[in-house]
């Protein structure tokens, strides 16, 4: 599984406004805990990674907050859907902002096509019984064109404070 890929030139066929709309939609589905729609964004070779200690090391040898392949994303969402995932029952109230969106390059995928790598800054306001918490950082996404739609291949979330103790992260970041 690729984590830090060698980037090639930004591939053609990705319209900036279409990509932005996709990222906003992903953000809204996560904010509103719409698990089915959020899950449907992912490809089968998905990777969802929240490292610690800055950019993180080799996630197969070192601890991460989240390092989910497609199968584990599914498990995580199944647990959430039970309504007894207490870290997220009741669900957090969430809204996030995404900005500084940059097309970073292309990543050759297993089918030989080129996925788009996009970077963006984010700020999430989470309100729950415990308190209100601000989660901020930079996310790196890889998007794949699948006929008329975009799909999410990879999302890496680097929290600015991931070198310090973090409170429970029960929602989809």
């Amino acid at each position: 599984m690729t984590t830090e890929a060698q980037l090639v030139e930004v591939p053609t066929g990705f319209d900036r406004s279409e990509v932005e709309q996709f990222l906003y939609r992903e953000a809204r589905l996560a904010d509103e805990s719409q698990y089915d729609e959020w899950e449907a964004l992912w490809t089968d070779d998905a990777l969802y990674w929240v490292p610690v200690g800055g950019q993180g090391g080799d996630p197969r040898r070192e601890m991460s907050v989240i390092y989910d392949n497609r199968n584990r994303i599914s498990t995580r969402l199944k647990q959430l859907r039970t309504g007894r995932r207490y870290a997220q029952a009741p669900q957090s109230n969430l809204r996030r902002l995404i900005s500084n969106i940059e097309f970073l390059g292309g990543v050759t995928n297993p089918d030989g096509a080129i996925d788009l790598e996009v970077g963006a800054n984010f700020l999430v306001i989470e309100s729950r019984a415990r308190d209100t918490h601000l989660w901020g950082g930079r996310a790196t996404y890889r998007l794949r064109r699948d006929d008329d739609t975009l799909r999410l291949v990879y999302k890496k979330v680097v929290l600015v404070d991931n070198d310090r103790p973090l409170p429970t992260l029960g929602f989809l970041i």
């Binding site: 929240v50 610690v52 200690g53 090391g57 996630p59 197969r60 040898r61 070192e62 601890m63 991460s64 907050v65 989240i66 390092y67 989910d68 584990r72 498990t75 995580r76 199944k78 647990q79 039970t82 309504g83 007894r84 995932r85 207490y86 870290a87 019984a129 415990r130 070198d163 310090r164 103790p165 973090l166 409170p167 429970t168 992260l169 029960g170």
Partner: protein, 422 residues
């Protein structure tokens, strides 16, 4: 019936009023004065787990750790010796180390340039004429006593007292059991630590770690969706036992259940055929004992006050305030078992830390529990479960059923002893 207040009048110890055989008072978790006393009488006196020697594998390696509120630098000097230094310049108290980890033979204070060797010795200070010479009888502070067991490093701020091995007592055998699962007999903790901020008193965690009553309820959501075999280990029908190991240590001994199935690697949720190299290495090392070791698996032991070994994961609990602590968690890594190590990291990442599918729910319970304790009535937490069926095992340890609060009662008995000492 004697009320708790009457009992207190008999002996005069405030802890006689707060800790009874079958219940403990809520203020033990919420009173800041009790927390201050715990710092003095427990955290800065008894043996406290700090880190593992494998985190500073090479000479010059260092890593910042916590021991309660103390900022500790664990170093390995050029002779290979491990030190627990305090991050405070001997000049005016500035912090001498600001990186989380690294490799350096010296620490140089940024304030006035005083430089210390990684064994704590002061080796230089600028403009020495102001001190009348090049030598000063100053050094970095240190945790007065440091000992390790199978590489697990413990520190004690008491200059004398029981040795680490005396403190560990029967719990040492559980660390032995973990090390025995390595084909080289060696545990490493070198996969890095997650840091999980937890808004509850540290004792709620220490008590929960061998509470076999909660898993089916708190973790029912993940057991259900993964078809996990863990749930039944902590059921009314389970043959597993909860054991008070003495000195505040306790365990959920799951071996009776694993022996029943007699399947090697079942404890790890897998089969021999999935980890053939590991099993072959273990058979080569342990011969006819290998099957027993591979069937019985890893320990589930809480070592007072802050080291929890939960089969494949290790937790280091450090208090921050009366209502806050941090859980540091990492995957066990077994030397000579690369096949198993990657799986342990993967499983551990899925289970523990802020987003862990097990530990985030435990932590939710700790935090709600702490919030619940603010209610004024009833004042007590009940710890009587299983008192009616507690017995002594063949070694004289108190044991209860899988879901009994035997471990908690052992914890409180030792806690009371430490808090009543002067």
């Amino acid at each position: 019936m004697t009320s708790s207040i009457d009992a207190a009048a008999d002996t005069g110890s405030p802890y006689d009023r707060l800790i009874l055989p079958d219940k403990v008072h809520g203020s033990l978790y919420t009173d800041a004065r009790i927390f201050e006393e715990e710092l003095r009488k427990i955290w800065y006196r008894t043996w406290v787990f700090v880190g593992h020697e494998s985190e500073v594998a090479q000479p010059g390696d260092y890593v910042r750790k916590r021991l309660a509120l103390q900022d500790v630098i664990m170093t390995r000097d050029r002779d290979g010796e491990v030190h627990l230094l305090l991050n405070r310049c001997a000049h005016r108290g500035n912090q001498v180390c600001d990186d989380a980890k690294g490799n350096s033979s010296t620490f140089r204070c940024p304030y006035h340039g005083w430089t210390f060797r990684n064994n704590g010795d002061l080796i230089g200070f600028p403009f020495f004429k102001g001190y009348g010479g090049r030598q000063l009888d100053l050094a970095l502070g240190r945790v007065p006593r440091m000992e390790s067991y199978h590489g697990f490093v413990f520190g004690s701020f008491a200059t004398d007292g029981p040795s680490l091995i005396e403190h560990l007592g029967a719990a040492a055998g559980e660390i032995d059991r973990l090390a025995q699962l390595s084909p080289l007999g060696k545990v490493e903790l070198n996969a890095g630590w997650l840091q999980h901020q937890t808004r509850s008193n540290w004792k709620l965690l220490a008590e929960n770690e061998t509470d076999g009553y909660h898993p089916q309820f708190v973790h029912g959501s993940i057991f259900g969706v993964t078809g996990s075999t863990i749930g039944p280990l902590y059921s009314d029908a389970s043959t597993a036992v909860t054991r008070d190991l003495g000195n505040g240590h306790s365990e959920n001994d799951l071996r009776p259940e694993f022996r029943k199935f007699a399947q090697p690697m079942r404890w790890f949720g897998t089969t021999e055929s999935r980890v053939p190299d590991y099993v072959a290495a273990m058979r080569a090392k342990h011969g006819d004992q290998a099957d027993r070791i591979l069937i019985e698996g890893a320990p589930h032991v809480m070592i007072f006050p802050n080291l929890f070994i939960a089969e494949i994961q290790v937790f280091n609990i450090q208090p921050v305030a009366v209502g806050e602590c941090v859980q540091y968690s990492t995957a066990v890594q077994l030397a000579g078992a690369p096949e198993l190590n990657k799986r342990m990291v993967s499983q551990c990442v899925g289970s523990v830390g802020p987003a862990g599918m097990l530990l985030a729910d435990d932590t939710e319970m700790y935090e709600r529990n702490q919030a619940g304790l603010a209610a004024l009535d009833p004042e007590w937490l009940d710890v009587r479960r299983g008192m009616n069926r507690e017995v002594r095992d063949e070694n004289g340890f108190k044991i209860g059923s899988a879901t009994d609060e035997t471990g908690m009662r052992g914890f409180w008995s030792h806690y009371k002893k430490l808090m009543e000492a002067q």
